[in-house]
């Protein structure tokens, strides 16, 4: 189920919240667990058992690690079992076909692809969450969860299931065990505000600006073109840049909007999830960018890969190697395709350069650092989008970097000018300043939120809803 649908807003959400609020406090986690399972299974009923198996593996691994507290070998064994359990699911569903088709291509073998039409909802996110639990238990950073319902509620909790933020078990374990007085009105109200902002970001900004990009490359359902754009091959260099910029805006609002809806609903349920985006497009360096973009993923990799590998404590060359591993994995995490690996390594190179010598220069500049960062980030998104139908890495980069004529930007600036300007404004902290001013006046606050909500509903009804971009992650 997708948040930005009428089904979610006016069926699932009121029923789920109603049951959760009305349930006696001891049953709240049970209700949360059950409604989340419905949410998870809605799109693909057959994947229901997969979730149960994943919960069971990690739950029992946690218990056994506690039971064999005195035996380091057994503890390690059950940690490995639980990680294999989580990781193998992710690898099987997400990467099998990529590996098979590459084997077939490079070795001339004839393996058949596995028949996975859609990935289990949110598999890239919840497998990372279960791993964080097992590793933390192993490290004794967190107490073992004894109640399987509470643990299940954590793993499959619907607000963060699809698109994060990646919530570590220890982030919410305290709240999960506060049964009485979990809900606070102020927190719920804040959650509502964030939810409406997230919805508006996704529906009003991301989905609207996305049409600029599809006007160029067309719309595809799988590999079948359902609507023709001008065609990337016909675009001029300025239009190619405008398209990639629009895509960069769309991706940001899409993903951060989703995260924000998740964080907002988390608060409505009485949980504080970690922040996931912090105005990434105002970064002053690539290092800064990755502290502001998808923060929970970066912190996951830092905590469970980079630091265990030694971080920066074992010399420069080892640090470079560690960075390489992290960014290779980050690339692969984003999708089973070569362009994502390339995209990850691109950031490895940039971050290494910054760490080695570039950062001090960037910190001294005022404007140039923003130009530098935005240029490299947008170029990165061009790599990122290049495996989509109708694009192609070679063609896109040739369009971007070899100046050429073709279909120009005038019509697109005319048609998308206002939404582009609004989007750029919303990428800066100015929008936060504006809100801080508005919200001090109660009626203005309520008017703004109502307007955003009503408009979002109108856009959801009006457009045959566009599929969420970060789905197959």
């Amino acid at each position: 189920m997708v948040f930005s649908t009428l089904l979610f807003l006016f069926r699932f959400l009121p029923i789920a919240l109603g049951l959760y609020y009305l349930a006696p406090y001891k049953l709240k986690n049970t209700v949360l667990f059950l409604v989340s399972l419905v949410f998870y299974s809605w799109g693909e009923v057959k994947y229901f058992p997969i979730m149960l198996v994943l919960i069971l593996i990690n739950y029992f691994s946690g218990l056994t690690m506690e039971r064999f507290d005195h035996s380091p070998a057994l503890r390690k064994l059950f940690l490995v079992i639980s990680i294999i359990g989580s990781l193998s699911m992710l690898l099987f569903f997400k990467y099998s076909n990529f590996v098979i088709s590459n084997l077939n291509h490079f070795l001339g073998t004839g393996f058949e692809l596995i028949g996975v039409a859609v990935l289990p909802l949110g598999i890239s996110f919840y497998t990372f969450q279960t791993m964080s639990y097992s590793i933390d238990v192993y490290r004794r950073d967190v107490a073992t969860e004894h109640n399987i319902i509470d643990f299940g509620a954590y793993v499959v909790m619907f607000p963060q299931l699809i698109a994060g933020p990646i919530v570590k078990y220890r982030d919410v374990s305290n709240q999960l065990h506060v049964y009485k007085g979990r809900l606070k009105l102020a927190q719920i109200e804040e959650g509502i505000t964030l939810f409406i902002f997230g919805l508006a970001k996704k529906v009003l900004l991301a989905d609207t600006i996305s049409h600029l990009w599809t006007d160029i490359i067309g719309i595809y359902s799988g590999t079948v073109q359902t609507s023709a754009g001008v065609g990337l091959a016909n675009a001029s260099t300025p239009l190619a840049w405008l398209g990639v910029i629009a895509y960069s805006l769309q991706l940001y609002f899409d993903f951060s909007g989703y995260s924000l809806m998740g964080i907002g609903m988390g608060k409505m349920l009485g949980f504080d999830f970690p922040q996931n985006f912090n105005f990434p497009y105002i970064s002053r360096s690539i290092t800064d960018f990755w502290r502001r973009w998808h923060m929970t993923l970066s912190s996951w990799f830092r905590e469970y890969v980079y630091i265990p590998l030694g971080g920066n404590r074992k010399g420069k060359s080892r640090q470079m190697f560690n960075l390489f591993v992290v960014w290779l994995l980050t690339g692969i995490w984003h999708g089973a395709n070569w362009n994502f690996i390339l995209w990850g390594l691109y950031y490895f190179v940039l971050l290494s350069l910054e760490k080695l010598f570039l950062l001090p220069y960037l910190e001294r500049s005022k404007v140039l650092c923003h130009v530098y960062t935005l240029f490299l980030v947008v170029t990165g998104w061009a790599m990122f989008v290049s495996s989509e139908a109708g694009v192609g890495l070679g063609l896109l980069f040739q369009k971007l970097f070899i100046p050429q004529g073709g279909v120009g930007v005038l019509y697109f600036l005319r048609n998308y000018g206002v939404i582009l300007a609004v989007s750029v404004f919303c990428c800066t902290p100015l929008v936060e300043k504006l809100w801080n001013r508005l919200k001090s006046i109660t009626w203005l606050k309520m008017l703004t939120l109502s307007l955003l909500f009503f408009l979002s509903v109108a856009y959801i009804v009006g457009s045959s809803n566009s599929p969420f971009l970060y789905f197959n992650f």
Binding site: M1, T5, L6, L7, L9, F10, R11, L13, P14, L17, W42, G43, E44, V45, K46, L185, A186, I188, E189, I192, T193, I196, T208, D215, G218, V224, Q225, T226, S227, A228, G229, V230, G231, N234, V407, G408, L410, Y411, R414, N415, Y416, G417, V418, I419, T442, K445, M446, L449, S450, F453, F454, L455, V457, A458, Y459, V461, G462, S463, N465
Partner: protein
Amino acid sequence: MKKLLRYPVLILFFGILALFTVVDLLYPDREYSELENTTLQQRPAFNLSRLVNNQWTADYGDYVKEQFMFRDTWIDLQSRSESLLLQKVEIGGQIEGQANGQEALYTKQFNLKESEVSQLEKNIQYVCQFLEKYPNAAFMLAPSASLIYADQLPADTPMLDEEGYLDEIFARTGEAGQVLDLRQEFTANREEYLYYRTDHHWTTQGACLAYEVYCKQLGLTPSLPSSAAVYVEGFYGTGYSASRLWNAQEDVIAYYPLDNAMTVYDTMGENSFKERFTAGMYDTSKLETRDKYALFLYGNNALSRIQGNGEGKILVIKDSYANCFVPFLTANFDQIDVMDLRSYSYSLDALIQENQYDQILILYNFQSFKADGFLSALARPSTLQ
């Protein structure tokens, strides 16, 4: 309670959420959306196998989406936001331009789809084969409004090169037989009301111009109906339905009240038809509905036979552009057979042989010709002995 009042956003949001959900649940379901010209998803019956196949959940999602309370009003609100807040010139695939000083909507087509590239190539070949086989056949392909009024679109709108495609189509089909290229005549008369402003069809006036071109080229005498045309106001066509543009200019639909009899047939098999009904050429009850263009020839039926006032027989193989064109032919022919291949997927050979038509006219407009998958019937061999 007093504590709750300190959180007005909370009260408001949960109030709206509950209100919308309850009203939506009670809101009556519709079979059909007249504005969108489509049937709507009904409440799906639950059964276990459909649930396991994800069919029930998908249908239920569609059901909630399509039956949402005040659906039309929400769509209008979105359209207004697109045009008034975001100042867009393209809404719902319709581009806002001008025609003769008034707002007009043009179908957005930036390029051919991949499937259309191959379909167009096939369709050209089917028409060529047909023209070679039947020397008394002619091929008329109407240009889109966006070509005739290209300069009336927003600056630099990257529309596809219809001019180039038409050049190629006419060059190739012209080698195979007789073709009718309307571009010159339409461009010369573009001050006239040739196309609807809110619909993708040409007007009766546009069809009349095409009829004159047809007569001139075939050596017939064009003769307009002696009765005065009837004008019906308040027509908002498919372009309006797609865009819901708040300030769309209504169209005026015109027809000549001729009393020629028309018999509509159902297809039973190749060259096998069963009469459904006989009436006039106009279904005036459609004037009360939104889709007023369905007035002409009772919409798109497989075979219709019209009693004319002239001499000889003609077969018109067509898309919906021909619906308002065909009435003009009653002046020149005694029998007008109208065939819509979307409802007849057999060979035409036996029909043509049996009726010994004097003329055959293939009439399409570019936008349907590039995508129509039914023209293969033109080249289909007969299965009858």
